[in-house]
């Protein structure tokens, strides 16, 4: 079954820009403002981070935003409240990105059902392994038409990439180089790997993320994928320039 994620990739084959931000940060009620301003600024896809006390795959910038968001009182239930009427105003695909434990505490099926009810199109849980996805997530995700997005990295075997391609339907999140979010590793040295994945002709489109931070890295990764995901660099930008529409527009304009 198609949802907004599939429709986006069907209508746009390249130059897709996805932005990540942490919910409830800098202030608890900023979630909707940032989301609407990103929509106005013309991004194609948004990933909203659910703050977690122990975000293993994240570097210091996103860790700090998570800690602050939790201090602000952010919770999964609060985030769902904030997003309750989102589909009256925002029409781009929205993905929730977080860690497994808060989702399990909320209840896996209840979480996915709630996503579907308010119009969330997908989820990304970096610590959700393939076998647990198949046994606990795949059926409810399909039932509620919420896409589960899996990560691959340059350590992922081709066999496993193909399995992920087979078992999911949305896009594949290609981690630009082995590292946590916001690492400043050179992406040039990874081009052979991007090219290799591109050559596999997978059924799912590819977005590249982790370490994409400016026009140059965005354009580089775009040569090998449908687009890229920027998180840490955006969070740094709003730390310095604020969350109003002109600040967010100027960031997006600096990328593409």
């Amino acid at each position: 079954m198609n949802n907004r994620i599939n429709t986006l990739f069907e209508t746009k084959k390249s130059n897709i820009l996805s932005i990540y931000f942490t919910a409830g940060y800098p202030a608890l009620e900023d979630t909707m403002t940032i989301l609407k301003n990103l929509d106005t600024a013309g991004v194609d896809l948004v990933e909203i981070g659910i703050p977690f006390s122990d975000p293993l795959a994240d570097g210091p910038v996103i860790q700090n935003s998570s800690e602050q968001a939790l201090r602000n009182g952010m919770t999964v239930a609060k985030l769902f409240d904030q997003l309750e009427n989102i589909r009256q105003t925002v029409h781009i695909p929205i993905i929730l990105m977080g860690y497994l434990n808060p989702v399990m505490r909320y209840g896996i099926e209840a979480f996915i059902a709630k996503c579907s009810e308010i119009g969330i199109d997908g989820i990304i849980l970096p610590d959700l392994p393939m076998d647990y996805y198949l046994s606990h997530f795949k059926a409810p995700c399909e039932r509620y038409n919420v896409k589960n997005i899996m990560l691959i990295s340059n350590d992922t075997s081709i066999k496993r990439v193909r399995e992920i391609d087979e078992q999911t339907n949305g896009f594949i999140y290609l981690v630009s180089s082995n590292g946590t979010t916001g690492s400043n590793k050179s992406l040039e040295t990874q081009q052979d790997y991007y090219k290799h994945i591109q050559g596999l002709e997978l059924k799912n489109p590819i977005l590249i993320g982790f370490g994409v931070r400016d026009k140059q890295t965005y354009e580089l990764t775009n040569q090998y994928s449908s687009g890229a995901i920027i998180g840490t660099a955006f969070m740094k930008h709003i730390n310095e320039q604020g969350i109003d529409v002109s600040s967010i527009q100027s960031f997006i304009n600096s990328i593409r």
Binding site: D54, L56, E67, D127, L128, L151, D155, R160, G179, T180
Partner: protein
Amino acid sequence: MKEFNPNKQGYYGEYGGAFIPEMLYNNVADLQENYLDIIQSDSFKQELEKLLKDYVGRPTPLFYSVNLSKKYNAKIYLKREDLNHTGAHKINNTIGQVLLAKRLGKKRIIAETGAGQHGVATATTCALLNLECTVFMGAHDIERQKPNVERMKMLGATVIAAESGSKTLKDATNEAIREWINNPQETYYVIGSVVGPHPYPDMVAKFQSIISKEIKDQLLEQEGTANPDYVIACVGGGSNAMGAFYHFIDNQHTQLIAVEAAGKGINSGQTAATIALGKQGIIHGSKTYLIQTNDGQIIEPYSISAGLDYPGIGPAHAYLRDTGKIQVGSITDEEAIHAAFELTRIDGIIPALESAHALAYLNKMELKENDIVIVNLSGRGDKDMITYSKYFNHE
């Protein structure tokens, strides 16, 4: 007795598994596929046994405490893990894992540490086996445990302060995992307890199981039976307890007792009683009991003993508790301190604060005269002298 093993995916019942980001998948899968072949090979076993004997000082004594036995009117034995090189059971595991890392061709070792005991044991082993060593330690713990920080540095290790979160063991573990994600190929992560993604809980259990193996042999020699009535051990993550219990799991005669740190009391809000208060969830790559909010945020535990304040529990312990194979008790800071002073005065042994929790549990038991009780004395108290002397001078 049949061996106590998780299934192929690393589950003990519904606990365990490997909940890791994709960036670590290959690395961990490689370890899962190879660890048993390596650690069960004859050449590995010979190398490990020789080091445990000549370098660590094993077997550690099983000491019959006449004085404690009189006091509690039962036969009380202390398994003297405090007499190992570096002062605790931790080195049983670090030697095993670092030998394994060498065979996997790894050049660099990383580890997390809370009180510093696992960090010191890892740094010691790396000095001996000539590998580069980096230890992550919460910035707050670095302040609290200065002597162990100095020991690690003298041993040649780099100590990196974990500045995230609450700046203690949980955060040191997060930082070690992040470092591993950033350098998965050349780095081997030596986890210090029976926690983490499969195969760590099983691997650490196997390296620590020498404790219960020796207890059986030594008890048979001293008492004519290999089956004690009780084995008592403290649990943070649970490695010394798993080692002391391992060969008694499924032994109908022996009651295994895991003692958690209640801190200032189980319901005080300042506690590390993870099994008593925990709910199922995921921590550091493993499904187990952990203390968490209703929103699924992990709660920072508290105990006077830095080695017990871990918010989760090894998945094997979660399983053993659910299946009734271990009994779980808890001891407060105050009770542990009293037990430490008691042992010091009547037997001349200063125990680690962690081990004092196991000792204190003797007071909570109704023992019969012929009951044979083993208390696993997991470490010595040198590292806790500042805490002890504060208390002593206050009395």
